[in-house]
Amino acid sequence: MDLPFSAAVLDSVLGRYNASIWPLQVVAHGLVLLALALVLRPTANSGRAVAAVLAAAWAWVGVGFHLGPAAAIDFAAPAYGAAFVVQAVLLAWVGVVRGRLAFRVRRGAVGWVGGACLAVAVIGAPLLAALAGRSWPNLPLVATSPDPTALATIGLLLLGAGRGRLSLLAIPGLWTLVSGLTAWMLGTPERLVLPVLAVAAATAAAADAWAGRCGHTAR
């Protein structure tokens, strides 16, 4: 199986997309920073607010990127777009409507991995892309590009609490596989950090769930 596009064309599509939605990225970063602030200082409805930010980001990336410019070069993009919209609906239902999610700073491996995912999503992804020779507007940015959005979601869900939290990792986890495979096939190693961190996150989440069952959840 080959991809129908080259790395240069994928960069070009991302660049033209970023340029076309500017300055939405500023608003998106503002919302993500607000969500991070609510994780650091939780309030009564902060879980709903963080989930709303994530749901909005997934809906936007699904419709604005996958079903938009990405669909012009990739026949699989509509399927990815649909998956992103489903994730947005799930986050909105579980986190916003039912209020089943809470987010806070956590210690232990799960806290470190969650923090690393968030750091890479917000700062690391564009930085790695820049180190690989890409420049604005060809940079992946959180809440408007798929990879950092998936990674930020994984990080926040690792820092979360509540029933159904781990099942919300399924679609972001699958996306990291798709993205990792794409990076491998296109020969763009800087994008491989996503699946590597996702594997670490899955391991931390599994260990955390196991410890929780045994009554030793890290706090």
Binding site: P4, F5, V9, S12, V13, G15, S20, P69, I73, D74
Partner: protein, 309 residues
Amino acid sequence: MPRFPNAIRRRTLLAGLAGAGAAAASWPIGAQTAPAISRALPATGERIPAIGLGTWITFNVGDDPALRDSRVEVMRAFFEMGGSVIDSSPMYGSSEAVIGDGLARIGTPRTLFAATKVWTWRQGAGPDQMAESRRLWGVRRFDAMQIHNLLGWEGHLETLLEDKAQGRIRLIGITTSHGRDHDTFATIMARQPIDLVQFTYNIIDREPEARLLPLAAERGLGVIVNRPFRQGDLIRRVSRHPLPAWAGEIDCRTWSQFLLKFIVSHPAVTCAIPATTRVDHLRENMGSRYGPLPDTAMRERMARHVRDL
């Protein structure tokens, strides 16, 4: 978005000129006057150049104006050098739109042999998809409409036979790649009223010599060969080594010409469709339409040489 279209065009132009100069060295002596290698399509008897232009990946550039400009230059050079067959598919993302853009900007040559594919599971979706392909290319009809990777082939064949009868297409084909589905493929070749086939064949992937190529010759089917360079892997592999001196006996100046002459020298092959993003590479590819073709002994020597590299 801060882009510099003039600078990009200038850079593209300079790169193109430099490439043209470099490629001139790979252009066989006397190529301007020698007859180019062409093959007759068994279904119609018309002769088409033995080297066409594939568009998988290479023409899927979205809306990027600089990349579109460079593909227009590839198409312009292709037609200037006597090219005719362009092959694409709805599966190739924006490739059909980019081809249509190029044809509109160059002016669609009368020599164009437009080949694309129908690529959908549902027979009912085929006509709309083919109409969309005509709109994207800007052509009234396709010379060849092929069923992509045999997807929903029974239903589409029914549609295509009707389209052919109504003059909406001239030729019906089927395609596969990577050596997939050869059993089903051969069965369709043997039993169905099609005009041409497209599959992978190159100096490494020689399986079609055993069955598909003889069957095509027996059934009077045109043969379009895809992945002649294994999507560039073959070129990258052989380019680490010098071209053997004896390649000059068949007027090969570059590895690409060596590999393409191997393919088009098979008597059952109608044309090969290498894909490229560069004018200099296109010129090299088109250069393989000139000079002598290898005979059976030379073909074996060529295959042995590549295998032993």
